[in-house]
Point group: C2
């Protein structure tokens, strides 16, 4: 016996003595078929272990009920969370999700977008607004409804759902300053191809400027979003300026890294140095002291993104820019700066 290939619709049709059209209907529109034939067909399907070829289906039906999501990384809990909710809501609406990740590279993102569209994604979820014009053109040419999440920008070309990274981070920075901190440093993510990181940084510097300090004088390190980078970053910052009383971080992962770095240096948080994050991932409330951060409603964002995308696919009118609120979570890692005294011991 030759190595039997995957059974096709036709095999099923032959075996159950009906036409391929009828088999197809059994699978897709069961009510249009009489009970007796349906039973025959079902039996044949089972006996043959038949499963339809998706490629053929895409071509013939021109519908895939598939939506693609392109995220920077699966390793950050915020995307994992949001996507899980996105997928659940999508399933609710009869859609399947396809994920791809880019490692924060625009180049990769463009490839993944093309790959997903080629695979029949009828809609796309992207993160942030930073991407080359060629991608936008491609999306327009292909007429693929696309929604941007994790950022809010009323000016942007693509519809978006998200929060105002600038204002949220600015509010946190204002709070840091209100507590009396003046020697502040920043641990940021890479800002070149990442509007969320950039806006957060701008929010920080804006608040600093408004407080009458010089934003260009603020010690600043850009790195990838990892615990180690946070740890190393803190060490570098303290080497440059041991007088630091607060370090504001681009996200929680960096902040936790910074906390570990501080601990490694024998500094207590927040008595000796305050540290803040952004995102409010689970980790933030698990560490000790709990992290002061900005809470982002990742789950809700994912869920609503799915609803909006589904509506877009049904050609319904949808709000072009949805703003969610990201609010401060004041916890224990932020306190007043230590009295200057502490710092004198070494210097005197």
């Amino acid at each position: 016996m030759s190595p039997r290939a995957r059974p096709t619709l036709e095999d099923v049709a032959r075996r159950s003595g009906v036409s391929t059209a009828t088999v197809s209907r059994c699978l897709n529109l069961p009510d249009r078929v009489s009970k007796s034939t349906r039973d025959k067909v079902d039996a044949a399907v089972r006996e043959l272990g038949y499963s339809p070829n998706f490629g053929a289906r895409i071509m013939a039906a021109r519908r895939t009920h598939t939506i693609g999501a392109v995220i920077p990384t699966m390793e950050n809990a915020i995307f994992a969370r949001g996507l899980q909710a996105f997928q659940e809501e999508l399933a609710e609406n009869g859609y399947t999700m396809l994920v791809a990740s880019t490692s924060y590279s625009q180049q990769n993102e463009e490839e993944q977008i093309r790959a997903l569209v080629a695979r029949g994604a009828e809609g796309l979820l992207l993160i942030g607004h930073d991407r080359r014009a060629s991608v936008l053109e491609f999306l327009a040419t292909q007429k693929v409804p696309t929604l941007v999440a994790w950022t809010y920008d009323p000016e942007a070309a693509l519809p978006s759902i998200g929060f105002d990274n600038f204002s949220a981070m600015r509010a946190l920075m204002v709070e840091v300053l209100r507590r009396g901190h003046r020697k502040v440093a920043v641990l940021s993510g890479f800002t070149a191809e990442n509007d969320r990181a950039r806006l957060r940084l701008e929010g920080i510097l804006d608040a600093i400027g408004d407080a009458g300090l010089d934003p260009t004088a603020v010690p600043l390190i850009r790195s990838d979003y990892s615990i180690d980078a946070g740890k190393d970053g803190l060490a570098t910052l303290l080497d440059r300026d041991p007088e630091l009383t607060a370090v504001v971080c681009g996200n929680d992962v960096l902040a936790v890294g910074a906390m570990i770095g501080a601990r490694a240096r024998g500094l207590r948080v927040p008595q000796d140095i305050s540290i803040t994050g952004f995102d409010d991932i689970e980790l933030a409330s698990v560490v000790d002291p709990a992290l002061t951060t900005v809470h982002v409603p990742h789950r809700e964002m994912g869920r609503r993104a799915a609803q909006i995308l589904a509506a877009m696919l049904h050609d319904e009118q949808v709000p072009t820019h949805v703003k969610l609120t990201a609010d401060l979570r004041l916890r224990d890692s932020l306190a007043r700066p230590p009295r200057p005294l502490r710092r004198l011991t070494g210097g005197a």
Copy 2:
């Protein structure tokens, strides 16, 4: 102008004045085409914003270079990590990854497997060995090379790469007992459809039996793998038996939850109560005290899984069962049990 649909190979052919065959060759076998026509075609592709229809490609070429991965959840860092490595290595070998998640349900898993195969997945990565025979039959009928990861079982029907959940957890339990703990409780994941959880639990009970204690008398709670479940679980366990000196958890997430629960009850870890985890996710070394746990080489597992799967697709001979080592990471959350004295204060 009518709403122009997605351009096809034929549009490109027409525009560049060649046949569809030539365009196809330009895309797939560029060396077989003269420089001049290649340039014309490339130009047309760019102008039209052409991107090939994957479905059509699957059908015509019967190759997709796609591998599917079906995991329980993206929310657990261990899978996110492992998959990231899996994908990177897959890309290295010219394959694309498609992910689907099951929320730890066999029912969902079966659907996702079928969906991925229908989508043209040429190989599959699955987690754990627990699944219905019907799925295995399906896989056999469809002749889809399948590799199981995150568990090692030399007896299993499908080839696997992973570690010995039973022995690893058993070793940890032995260590707990060696430190003198006798009042031990267990916080396990659901074991019904999850062989990893089941094997870990068996490992624990086996060590307990060998130590001359009664395994059936061990307080045990099964729950989902979440911080909250860990927290609540610890509370319940302590309500049932306040004398507990150690809680062994099915994974790190549960363990961190238990640590929070302990703290909430005013107990110090490890002075008043010891807690252990499994997996060694980042979180484990970030919490204070750092978690004693079992280190699992997630990244390596993902990477090697990709290599093996690629070899399987090339019909190369591969080792059927690969065992990786998962070793103890003794950190601060495990110590000797407190002197009985502590417990008397309340009772006297």
